[in-house]
């Protein structure tokens, strides 16, 4: 037993990768990590995920990319990124030192592209691969794989041999049966799962009588999705043995604690860090303060208790 006044231990082990705390910046909401330097040094976080990377550079979607809803944000960025090669050659050397745990988020729309992209990034100096099989923005793309167990397993099985690093698969909440997809990814070789990506959603401009987004639908994130994301995190954590990283609408240290009680090993924070760029270290502090107040020495004591 540690003494009662010992500082709480926030560290977690995510499929062999040790994070100093369970708060990870979510992909697509943290640039390439450098952008927060005016506010804080990203090494205070458990780690961060890069913007979604694809084999070839992508310009992203034209037209409106953001739309605010009640307690939520809809986005249709369309995986704008410089491509994995430019990432490895130009960006990675700049950002490697920013965090002890660098998670490269990889997206795609063809299995061959996923395999090649993961091969390139996993061979570089990153700590973990997060495979995005759930981006709802790329037409006939990522979404299709994450929707059904068979297609999800097909990508994971194909990518697995090319991935010399721990492989975390990011699930779509839009799947018909997210637990079935989760189990299929685990069987196909995923070392961890993260969820949720954004919810496919629709906004209509009634004056213009058309959809707000050119792609018609877009992905919903932010506080509005938290209770559903938390329920899904619990369902998936109970359905698989690999560790689960939960996210969706987290804004406070207590939100993070709730996801851990639902079974998450670690959490990611996206939209809330856009609203307030200096927020993420506060979530770490709030979680530590919560643990100290509640006499929780180790997150394992509350993981999955609900």
């Amino acid at each position: 037993m540690p003494p009662a006044d010992a500082a709480p231990d926030l560290s977690v082990n995510l499929c062999g990768v040790v994070l100093k705390n369970p708060v990870i910046a979510a992909s697509g909401t943290f640039g390439m990590g450098e952008e927060v330097l005016p506010f804080y040094h990203p090494s205070v976080l458990g780690g961060f995920c890069t913007k979604g990377l694809t084999l070839r550079p992508r310009e992203g979607n034209p037209g409106i990319r953001l739309h605010e809803t009640r307690a939520g944000l809809m986005n249709s960025i369309g995986l704008q990124n410089p491509g994995v090669r430019a990432f490895v050659d130009e960006i990675l050397p700049r950002i490697r030192g920013l965090t002890p745990v660098l998670i490269a988020n990889v997206g795609g729309s063809e299995i061959d592209d996923y395999v090649e992209a993961v091969g390139i990034v996993a061979a570089a100096d990153v700590d973990l691969i997060e495979l995005n099989i759930s981006c709802p923005n790329v037409k006939c793309g990522g979404m299709a794989f994450g929707m059904e167990p068979a297609t999800a397993a097909a990508v994971v099985r194909a990518v697995r041999p090319a991935c010399g690093k721990p492989l975390m698969v990011k699930l779509s909440p839009n799947a018909h049966d997210i637990c079935a997809v989760a189990r299929a990814c685990e069987e196909a070789g995923a070392d961890a799962l993260s969820l949720v990506n954004t919810f496919n959603a629709l906004a209509i401009d009634v004056h213009a009588r058309r959809a707000v987004f050119d792609n018609v639908t877009a992905g919903l994130s932010g506080p509005a999705i938290l209770p559903i994301a938390m329920r899904m995190t619990r369902d998936v954590a109970r359905a698989v043995r690999v560790p689960v990283v939960g996210m969706g609408g987290i804004e406070t240290g207590e939100d993070a604690a709730a996801f851990i009680m639902a079974g998450a090993t670690a959490v990611q924070v996206g939209t809330a860090g856009l609203v307030r760029p200096d927020l993420l270290p506060r979530i770490v502090d709030e979680l530590a303060a919560f643990m100290a107040r509640e006499g929780i020495h180790d997150l394992a004591a509350i993981r999955g208790i609900v």
């Binding site: 992203g60 990319r65 953001l66 944000l73 609203v275």
Partner: protein, 260 residues
């Protein structure tokens, strides 16, 4: 760049739907006058959000004037975000991130400088005009277009000798849109801020006359600091973020999307 709590010193209506707000940092983590803040440059902007949970996102608002550590904004009530700002009384609190963006390159603005404003696009120009006046290398003309009655012009009296006004309904100045007010060949450089149709028109007029032009662009933003890629525009050098690569761009680099 910081995210800090500010207190509203004043928040007054200057014309129907147009307010001017002055704020002072009240963040206990930042000592007053500590000099830890980045100086605010003309053409930069801040992300403003009330402390209420809704609306969720902060709103980008240009720096209108600075006085010591106090910031001043001029804004138009358009929807829930700007309405929430308008509802703040003196003494109220808000959270502000900034200064954001590149701002105008004041030292490159020399000779005969024309500032073209469309509506609330006038907001960043008083601070710029004062900076140009202080630098002493520019003779500044302001061409300001409004839908109806003008606002914000008194801010220029001390620094801009030549103020030209147009209104679409003829209620002040020349009846028509802002391009009726100038011939770009009378200037060395044109600086424009306003709605997209105006910016597109000014870009075209200046290109045709071979006159240098810079545009201060608008885009919907979530973060204002380069994290989300929500604010990108198409340029001759690829997709660029208005919030960190702009908002000020050389006009010849901006590729406007087809009108929709």
């Amino acid at each position: 760049m910081t995210t800090e709590l500010y207190t509203v010193l004043a928040n007054d209506l200057v014309a129907p739907g147009i307010l001017r707000m002055t704020v002072r940092s009240s963040d206990p983590s930042v000592a007053p006058g500590a000099g830890t803040r980045t100086p605010v440059l003309p053409g930069q902007f801040h992300m403003l959000k009330t402390l209420a949970p809704e609306p969720l996102l902060a709103r980008p608002i240009s720096i209108h004037e600075v006085a010591g550590d106090d910031l001043r904004f001029l804004y138009e009530v358009k929807g829930p975000g700007t309405q929430a700002l308008a509802d703040l009384a003196a003494g109220g609190s808000l959270r502000i991130t900034g200064p954001c963006g590149n701002g105008f390159a004041v030292d490159e603005l020399a000779g005969r400088v024309l500032l073209v404003a469309g509506g609330i696009g006038i907001a960043p120009f008083p601070y710029l005009a004062r900076a140009l006046h202080q630098a002493g290398n520019a003779r500044v003309t302001l061409a300001a277009g409004f839908r109806s009655l003008p606002y914000g012009l008194d801010d220029f009296a001390a620094h801009v000798p030549d103020i030209r006004v147009a209104s679409e309904d003829g209620s002040a100045g020349v009846k028509g849109r802002v391009p009726v007010l100038f011939d770009p060949r009378d200037f060395d450089i044109v600086v424009a801020c306003g709605p997209v149709p105006m910016m597109r028109a000014v870009q075209g007029i200046c290109a045709a006359a071979g006159i240098r032009c810079v545009l201060s662009m608008e885009a919907r933003m979530a973060c204002g600091v380069g994290l989300c890629l929500g604010c990108t525009i198409r340029t001759t050098t690829g997709m660029r973020r208005v919030c960190v690569d702009g908002p000020v761009f050389p006009a010849e680099e901006v590729i406007f999307d087809a009108a929709r």
